[in-house]
């Protein structure tokens, strides 16, 4: 029997991502309830599936059929909703990234899940991508010392990809007031949001490679929407670059890991689509190039398979790893936004 899922949130992440992903895993999961925060979107999504809908999380958490709660709301709601799901005795929680917005909140939700024995999985899909596992294996096998990492994102608007995996849009997130980037505090807050909303995809992998944050070297917003950030962690220099464009070429999402011996490029497919795993290329210093094939399954599917495996007793929940990943992300975002507020270091 499939596990019954209740989704908290009815934005693009649900409409164009999780419903489509769960639809690929019908033997494992069944969506039985969707709740929105008052937008009215949940009804439209739920009716098509024959599921229930509601407003707010109370009814969904009280729904005895819901075994797995997927927290797909705005990040500021994640911590509170996880605590509520634990209190409601739910068996498992899938939380979209980020897990929490602060160290303290991450400590609280992980402690609550651990104490209650609630399964917790964070939707860091790149970490679940088979290609990242292959790249990490390669790095370990060759014993090359990681010296620098570069993560470059060039992203067109998401709705280009929403249209490929869903219909019945528009899949626009709730309209928000445009921040005044001339206000340093507002600009620093935007940088923090971008790091915890987009860079977060790769931060668990970066923590694997460079676990101890030492210093943010520079941090800057780049118009129209983007950033350049560099930091040093565990002696490794990490460069993060994001350029979001209103139109243009397809998404580029590349992590490039430079060691003393090799360079490992991991090119991820665009968000939302199910085009298989990332593609990995290894370049040796002598010029040899090795391309690894694309795995048919992507990280979105893999992360939900992980939920199913844990529900079936397939291994321990990695509470400590998720907590450390969350700390790493919030520490970096806090340090980068603080540095930006203080001005770019000369």
């Amino acid at each position: 029997m499939p596990w019954n899922v209740g989704l908290l949130g009815a934005g693009p992440g649900v409409a164009a991502l999780h419903l489509a992903t769960l639809g690929r895993l019908a033997e494992l999961f069944s969506v039985v309830h969707i709740a929105d925060a008052g937008s009215g979107r949940a009804r439209g999504l739920a009716e098509r599936l024959g599921a229930r809908w509601s407003v707010g999380e109370r009814d969904l958490l009280a729904d005895r059929d819901v075994e797995v709660v997927a927290v797909c709301s705005p990040p500021s709601e994640h911590g509170r909703q996880i605590m509520a799901a634990v209190a409601a005795g739910k068996r498992a929680i899938f939380c979209e990234k980020p897990l929490a917005t602060s160290r303290a909140e991450a400590d609280q939700v992980v402690a609550a899940c651990r104490a209650a024995g609630t399964i917790l999985v964070v939707g860091t899909n790149h970490l679940f991508d088979a290609s990242w596992g292959r790249a990490r294996h390669h790095l370990v096998a060759l014993e090359g010392r990681v010296q620098a990492v570069s993560v470059t994102l060039a992203l067109p608007p998401n709705d280009r990809y929403h249209r490929l995996v869903a219909e019945g849009g528009p899949f626009l997130p709730a309209r928000r007031e445009r921040p005044d980037l001339g206000d340093p505090a507002a600009a620093a807050a935007v940088l923090r949001q971008l790091l915890t909303g987009l860079a977060i995809h790769d931060l668990p992998a970066l923590r694997d490679l460079a676990p101890t944050l030492e210093e943010v070297v520079y941090a800057r917003l780049v118009p129209p929407i983007g950033y350049v950030v560099a930091y040093r962690a565990s002696g490794v220099l990490v460069q993060l670059a994001l350029n979001m464009i209103p139109q243009g070429p397809d998404a580029l999402w590349r992590m490039s890991i430079a060691t003393s011996r090799d360079r490992v490029d991991v090119d991820f497919p665009p968000a939302f689509v199910h085009a298989g795993s990332a593609v990995t290329r290894v370049r040796s210093t002598d010029g040899r190039l090795t391309d690894y094939g694309r795995d048919p399954e992507d990280g979105y599917v893999a992360e939900w398979r992980e939920v199913a495996a844990l529900l079936e007793g397939g291994g321990p929940v990695e509470y400590d790893e998720m907590l450390a990943d969350s700390h790493y992300a919030t520490d970096l975002a806090d340090a980068a936004s603080a540095l930006m507020l203080a001005g770019v270091r000369a």
Binding site: R145, Q147, A148, S150, T152, A154, P156, E215, V217, Y218, R220, V222, P223, P224, G226, V228, A230, R232, G235, V236, L237, Q239, A241, N243, I245, P246, Q247, G248, P249, D250, L252, S256, A258, T259, S260, R261, R263, R283, T285, D286, G287, R288, L289, V344, R345, A346
Partner: protein, 266 residues
């Protein structure tokens, strides 16, 4: 010019340039005298002394072949070389590839430039210098170093256009083990048009991709040798009144690389 033909004299002992002269049988011929000739200076050792000597010896033009870095104390004298055309042959910055890249963008400015470099200790400064050059090309003008950091094995840098507005430029460089045969240079000029330049000398790979919403265009391979291209440019420059910016551009790029190398290392 030599003899009764319209061949220009090329003064060089470098095998690659002697081969290039053989590939220009109508317009060029080897000569032992630097006077009135295009003098090719190997860009190794204290090459700037040979360049200055060539000018003093009456060269018509100077080609500096694949120069490595140049120390700050030599820059002033080189910047004074304004009365002679100087072509700087930089195999990782071929003018034809630069032109292809510019043509591909169709005038659409880059919103951000990301540069990645990797090379052995002997080569890394040169690769970074050329990385800064490509960033300058995509940024549309000279750059200033804003911030950076270095470890014993890697460097990162943030740059912006020296004047006016333009894209942010970020560079990451990695030191590779071994002696190497050149290095790796990858430049991404991001925006509504995306240019990706990959020059991987150990792999023998030069690749320029230009991507738009319509798809990705791969620039054709350039089969002409870098030396022959440099000689052709020298011959063209001889009949032009327009001063080439190769040397001041190269010196600017070297200065940025030296500024980055001087950053604190932990």
């Amino acid at each position: 010019m030599s003899g009764s033909t319209r061949q220009a004299g090329i003064c060089t002992e470098l095998p690659g340039y002697r081969a290039a002269v053989a590939e220009l049988p109508v317009s060029a011929a080897l000569t032992r005298s630097s006077r009135g000739a295009v003098v090719v200076v190997a860009g190794t050792g204290r090459w700037w002394r040979q360049a200055l000597a060539a000018r003093a010896g009456g060269a018509a033009a100077i080609v500096i072949a694949d120069p490595r870095n140049v120390p700050p104390e030599a820059q002033e004298a080189l910047r004074a070389l304004k009365d002679i055309q100087v072509i700087v042959e930089r195999p990782r910055l071929r003018p034809d590839l630069v032109a292809d890249a510019a043509r591909g963008r169709g005038g659409v400015p880059a919103g951000m430039v990301v540069v990645e470099c990797a090379a052995s200790a002997a080569e890394l400064d040169g690769v970074i210098t050329d990385g800064f050059a490509w960033a300058r090309v995509f940024a549309g003008g000279p750059l200033s170093l804003l911030s950076g950091s270095a470890t014993a094995h890697a460097r990162v840098a943030l740059l912006e256009p020296r004047e006016g507005s333009g894209p942010a430029v970020t560079l990451a460089a990695n030191l590779e083990a071994g002696q190497g045969r050149g290095g790796l240079l990858r430049i991404l000029a991001l925006g509504q048009v995306r240019s990706e330049v990959t020059i991987d000398q150990p792999a023998g790979l030069t690749r320029l991709e230009t991507s738009t919403e319509e798809g990705t265009m791969l620039a054709p391979p350039r089969f002409e040798s870098s030396a022959r291209l440099a000689l052709r440019r020298a011959l063209d420059a001889g009949s032009s009144n327009e001063a080439l910016s190769d040397l001041p551009d190269f010196l600017d790029d070297c200065t940025l690389a030296q500024d980055l190398a001087a950053l604190r290392r932990d």
